[in-house]
């Protein structure tokens, strides 16, 4: 059970932070279809940062190298840098969509093509293969928090096993960032102004709000969150490896955002649902639902008749099938920001 919860969280947390990235852009009036691309780019930057730090022995320079706390610091630094560079990458979208009034769907698609191409180009040059891994060791060895480190080695209760054993600090930081950003968007003056630009930019402008500035901040925050989400995804699910691909995660985040109706609390629930299905696909063979040692899903996939249907192929499809289903039911009453996708034109009313 605790394995199931942990795995679900591992998938749900990047989803929800990237979905929130989508919310920031759309609430300011820009459709950010490039979430996938920004994630790929952010993942690459984060992994590259850790890789280079290892290569040039930056880790060893610290006074207490090897201490797990120091390693957490590096992980956070990696997240920060991927967030920053994610913003820079999103600047391409912001510039085209806000200043040049370009078609946002096409711009987003082009960035989704650009990111994997750039990443693979550099990965091949740096690593001489199709994927960039850590310079030495793996993510679990370097960054994972185990209960022994916290002095809880003997504790064997559910909470400790689930939330304090074999976890990454990134997961918790993301949850914190999610909460803070939601407050920023919904409870502050800045957030109100940003949202007004996504609903009726002309009215906002008439009240003295700088629509360009607000939309830029929306897209840049979006880029930062998506870039960070990309690195967290690479760190927690693919062992800190970058290969120019996040398996459609950015698009799933878009679906989560729409399912969540552009509201943080609903997004959390939607992300958990999608995370659960993603986790089924990835770890169906080792999920023990009721703790009796029988791995039901794994047994079923080996079953002569049931196995024809209930196999990994189906589990991998589930998130996408569910998104279509969910979009079917929610698309009628979904409340997208009114001005999203429409370039701001001062003269229009």
């Amino acid at each position: 059970m605790s394995y199931l919860i942990q795995q679900t969280l591992i998938y749900a947390v990047p989803l929800m932070i990237v979905a929130l990235a989508g919310v920031f852009a759309e609430r300011s009036g820009i459709i950010n279809l490039a979430l996938e691309g920004i994630m790929i780019f952010g993942a690459f930057i984060g992994v590259l940062f850790v890789h280079l730090c290892q290569k040039y022995g930056v880790f060893q320079l610290l006074p207490n190298f090897g201490n797990w706390g120091t390693m957490q610091l590096f992980e956070l630094l990696g997240m920060l840098i991927s967030a920053l560079l994610g913003s820079v990458f999103a600047l391409l979208l912001a510039f085209a969509a806000i200043h040049l009034k370009a078609d946002q769907t096409i711009t987003g698609t082009s960035l989704n093509m650009l990111a994997p191409a750039l990443v693979l180009f550099f990965v091949r040059i740096i690593a001489n293969q199709e994927e960039l891994r850590l310079y030495k060791g793996d993510a679990a060895e370097w960054f994972m928090i185990k209960k022994g480190m916290l002095g809880l080695g003997n504790a064997d209760n559910f909470l400790v096993n689930t939330f304090l054993n074999k976890v990454y600090i990134a997961t918790f930081v993301c949850i914190l960032v999610f909460v803070l950003c939601s407050i920023l968007l919904y409870k502050t003056r800045f957030g109100l102004r940003l949202r007004s630009c996504g609903e009726n930019p002309q009215a906002a402008a008439s009240l003295g709000i700088n629509v360009f500035k607000m939309r830029y901040s929306g897209v840049l925050i979006s880029g930062a969150l998506a870039g960070m989400g990309g690195f967290v995804y690479a760190l927690t699910t693919s062992n800190c490896m970058s290969n120019g691909d996040v398996a459609g995660f950015g698009f799933l985040a878009l679906a989560v955002m729409i399912f969540g109706n552009w509201k943080p609390l609903n997004i959390v629930l939607a992300a958990l649902l999608f995370g659960l299905f993603k986790c089924l696909a990835a770890g169906y063979s080792s999920i023990d639902i009721n703790g009796d040692g029988v791995k039901l899903l794994f047994e079923l996939s080996k079953h002569p008749t049931w196995g024809k249907v209930l196999n990994p192929n189906l589990y991998r499809m589930l998130p996408y099938l569910i998104s279509i289903l969910v979009l079917t039911f929610t698309s009628k009453k979904s409340r997208a920001p009114k001005a999203e996708g429409i370039p701001y034109d001062k003269g229009m009313r």
């Binding site: 946002q104 650009l114 679906a255 279509i324 079917t328």
Partner: protein, 414 residues
């Protein structure tokens, strides 16, 4: 000259050319920067890379340690072959775009076409006499499968009101998983050596596209075949359908404004489904032409990555201003880049992904090609009065007045 710049078609062509040049320069700059930054590469390697980006099609490899360039029939043949699938996916995206839909789903439709074509071509037993029949069957199967997949996506939009971009993306990944599933138990995996991850070439069953004499024209190319001729014919047919028939007009009217089209008596939902089905059929046909060549391998574990042809199709379409005839040329241009990429990774320390970067930059630029067009229009602003006088004279003579220059309000909603 000034009047020449006023024509919309000319401005589109110039904007396209500008996008291409900027894209190529962006690629060259990246190569240069990487070359200067990396001690193992250096300026010499960078100079090789830059020349290959621009002249890859004419590369004849090394001679005495130096790159030599010249006519190379192998490269041109390969270029023509690789142009086939992307011309077709380009047509798919163009047709959808003309009818108001953005088809990111070409990848999924392409996969559907691939699967149907390969299954038919490899499962139906052939003799040398019946192979051509199986080829036609497999091609039609690919077309139908693509059309079906496109129609499913369109129904999600028409009847369930799901945004077509999201519907396309989700159905893409669904297709990617279904295809893996289908091939997993198909028994069609190649058993030659350690090539478990690819499907047999269709030549395994004696099925392959006719060469139509092109292998004589471009000796040395193992791949070139009649597919390119079929693709060009299809492009012309699509052009005729879109511009000369009532059906095409209905599709376009529905794309321009769904509600007013319905008011005019056009069945809008039917139009959406039909145009997406047609788009899917084109993508499926592209896949069939590519894999039925008999010389191409298909990596069946597609759930990890969508085929790039679908996205390159977007570039082909946008670069050709969604004109079916234009797509033939832009498709060939992008496959030229593809050949250049192969040369780049074969002859230098760089790799072929730089061409994807260039393509992405070109798509990025084409998103605001309207702005570039306006900018070109401004260049011709001088001498406006003179032209206006001419125009009034022409109008008085009963001719049409020239199209007024684009104004800012016009590009509002995309």
């Amino acid at each position: 000259m000034k009047y020449f710049l006023k024509k919309d078609g000319v401005r589109t062509a110039i904007a396209t050319l500008l996008s291409i040049i900027i894209g190529l320069i962006a690629g060259a700059v990246i190569i240069l920067i990487v070359g200067l930054a990396d001690k193992n590469l250096g300026i010499k390697e960078a100079w090789k890379g830059i020349r290959l980006i621009f002249l890859g099609l004419f590369s004849n490899g090394y001679q005495n340690g130096r790159l030599v360039f010249g006519f190379n029939s192998t490269n041109i043949g390969d270029m023509l072959f690789r142009a086939v699938p992307i011309i077709m996916t380009g047509l798919s995206v163009s047709l959808a775009y003309k009818t108001g839909l953005f088809n990111i789903g070409a990848s999924g439709q392409y996969l559907a076409g691939t699967t149907a074509a390969l299954f038919i071509a490899l499962k139906v037993p052939t003799t040398p006499q019946t192979a051509w029949l199986v080829w036609i069957l497999a091609f039609l199967g690919g077309v139908l499968a693509g059309a079906l997949w496109g129609a499913i996506t369109a129904m999600l939009k028409a009847f369930l009101n799901i945004n077509e971009v999201l519907a396309c993306i989700m159905t893409n990944w669904l297709a990617a998983n279904i295809v893996t599933w289908l091939f997993e138990g198909s028994g069609l995996q190649c058993t030659d050596g350690n090539k478990q991850q690819v499907i047999w070439k269709t030549m395994h069953n004696g099925v392959g596209t006719w060469r139509m004499g092109l292998d004589k024209l471009f000796p040395g190319s193992q791949q070139v075949n009649g597919g390119i001729i079929i693709a060009i014919i299809i492009a012309i047919v699509v052009y005729i359908i879109l511009t000369k028939t009532t059906f095409g007009f209905e599709l376009k009217a529905c794309g321009a404004n769904r509600h007013s089209a319905r008011y005019a008596g056009i069945k809008d939902k039917r139009s959406i489904v039909l145009s997406m089905a047609l788009a899917g059929a084109l993508a499926g046909a592209g896949a069939a032409l590519y894999y039925l060549s008999g010389t191409t391998e298909f990596h069946w574990q597609t759930y990890l990555k969508l085929p790039g042809e679908g996205f390159t199709g977007i570039a082909v379409a946008l670069l050709g201003a969604c004109n079916p005839i234009g797509n033939i040329f832009t498709g060939m241009f992008l496959s030229t880049l593809d050949v250049a990429g192969t040369k780049l990774s074969f002859l230098t320390e760089y790799n072929e992904y730089i061409t994807d970067v260039i393509i992405a930059v070109i798509v990025y630029l084409s998103a605001f090609s309207l702005l570039i067009k306006m900018w070109i229009g401004k260049l011709s602003k001088a001498g406006e009065e003179k032209r206006e006088r001419k125009a009034t004279a022409a109008a008085a003579a009963g001719n049409k007045a020239p199209v007024p220059p684009m104004t800012e309000g016009k590009e509002g909603k995309a």
